[in-house]
């Protein structure tokens, strides 16, 4: 049985702006994020920073599916936290940025979990 957490988010866009996605797995846990933007470019990394989603006019009415998989590897902490940022400017210092949303999960030792979230751009 898969250990998954699903979420759907509606996000309003302005047609004049360009949107970026950043995803950070916090609390020192291991894992990564993969998503494909409406233009067909696939992004994958342990931390996604300023991945292009697209211009507001191009993504309005579209959905983006994101998969963040996390494994509990921090010897000091079992809490999992995943934060995602949908921004219209590229983030230069993630530590000062405010997340658009986040997921939290209290894992067991070495537990793996997948966060599946769909962002509907409106």
């Amino acid at each position: 049985m898969a250990n998954t957490i699903e979420h759907e988010i509606n996000f309003s866009v302005s047609t004049a702006l360009t949107y970026y996605l950043s995803v950070v797995i916090g609390n020192g846990q291991g894992g990564g994020t993969t998503f494909e933007n409406p233009g067909g470019t696939m992004y994958d990394d342990d931390t996604i920073l300023n991945a292009l989603i697209g211009t507001g006019s191009a993504i309005k009415g579209q959905s983006v599916f994101v998969d963040t998989s996390v494994d509990q590897i921090n010897p000091d902490n079992k809490n999992i936290i995943v934060s995602y940022y949908i921004t219209t400017n590229q983030i230069t210092n993630i530590k000062n940025a405010v997340p658009t949303g986040s997921f939290k999960y209290l894992a067991d030792e070495e537990e793996s979990v997948d966060f599946f979230y769909t962002i509907n751009f409106q």
């Binding site: 898969a2 609390n27 020192g28 291991g30 998503f35 696939m42 010897p75 936290i81 934060s83 997340p99």
Partner: protein, 437 residues
Amino acid sequence: MKKPLFIVAFIIVISAVTTYAQDKSFTTIIPSSAPAFTILGISPTEISKPNSWNALQGALYQNFNSNNQGTIPKNFALEFSPYWLSDHPNFTFKDYLDKSGFSLRNLNISLATGTVQYGRDSVQGLGFGIRIPIWTAKSTTLQDSLTKTIKENQKLRTAGRIVIVSLMNSRSKTVGDFFKNIQDSLQNSEQGSVWKNNKDLINRIYTDTLGNSFDTTDSLAKQKINIRNCIATYTQNHQKEFTEKSKQAIVAALKEIAQLEVSGALGMVFPTDQFNNSRISKIGVWSDYSFSLDKQKNKLDATVALRYVRDFKIDSIYAANNVDVIGRLNFYTDSQQKFTLSAWGLLRFISASSQSVVINNLTYYHNNTAWDNKYGVDISYKVSDNVAFAYSFGKGYSDPFSLTTLKSKLVNFLTVYYSIDNKALKASGQQYLNRSL
């Protein structure tokens, strides 16, 4: 009489244990030795490690409260890092691997209760301790190597995510069309693309899970979630061994790094088991420096420590100041510490008050000084991932009540350690203490 029974029990335990591939190091089986435990001189069998403020409050309330009154639990041990009681959303695993420099995130606080010797009596004691590394060697090479290891151990999950994202965005009508698209992506994608970089593992996921489990003529829309969950289950189940490897690599690598740690602890006793009748029994501060002597193979490391402990006056037993110099050398046969040999020694300088005289309402003490020492060897053998034996022998401290005659205790005991779900516990081991002149 005890020895033959013990040997029989030993043989039964050994023969009952199946030999498994050993992935966990010895240090994951033995309980930790936090300052609060050290000042009380106890080795707790179960240690609470709260991960949040609520869990910390819960642990303290449950154990120190009885019928809405403060109480001292019989055997309690707790250790936590204040930093990790809160979430740190932007703190990635790469940040965790950078242990250089002084940081309060490495501060650990411990609290323990247990039965302790107080003069010639045994009473309930409480210990409170803190420890923090004040200097850690920076090792960029080690950090980079560890980051690479962790990322390598994530590859199966990466491959799974690529297929899942592709699946969720797919507009194929049938399951068969989607499978064909996966094969096309693997064949035709450019070098350096996520498909090409993860080709082998994506093929493995396809072969092990998708190829035989789904009817290719089925509607993809109908099967999308099932396929997605099938891939997620597969990667999660197969990931566990890689996650364990990553964790062990982190613990082993951090142990390699030279570190100077400072600790402090306070011991209190409650002669009548009541909170309002307490005395400070001991206070201690110490510093230890750990370093690897064999950076290539990590089979030899050492710790040197300097410690000051003050024993407070108890009734007719006068106060004493103890200054210890401690050294320990550890040898491991392999990275999983299947067999460990440790040699250790302690040299103690004692300055104890004795006899007092009162002159003009002021109390004057006569101080005696003495040297004491203990040394020994610990041998441990890890039978499986969850069971280990440790045998210690050597010379203990002199009898504190006959310091002038320096009668020494010969230390000789065997301990069995076992862990359940990574909680280190200690079985009630056979303990032999012999006094020798």
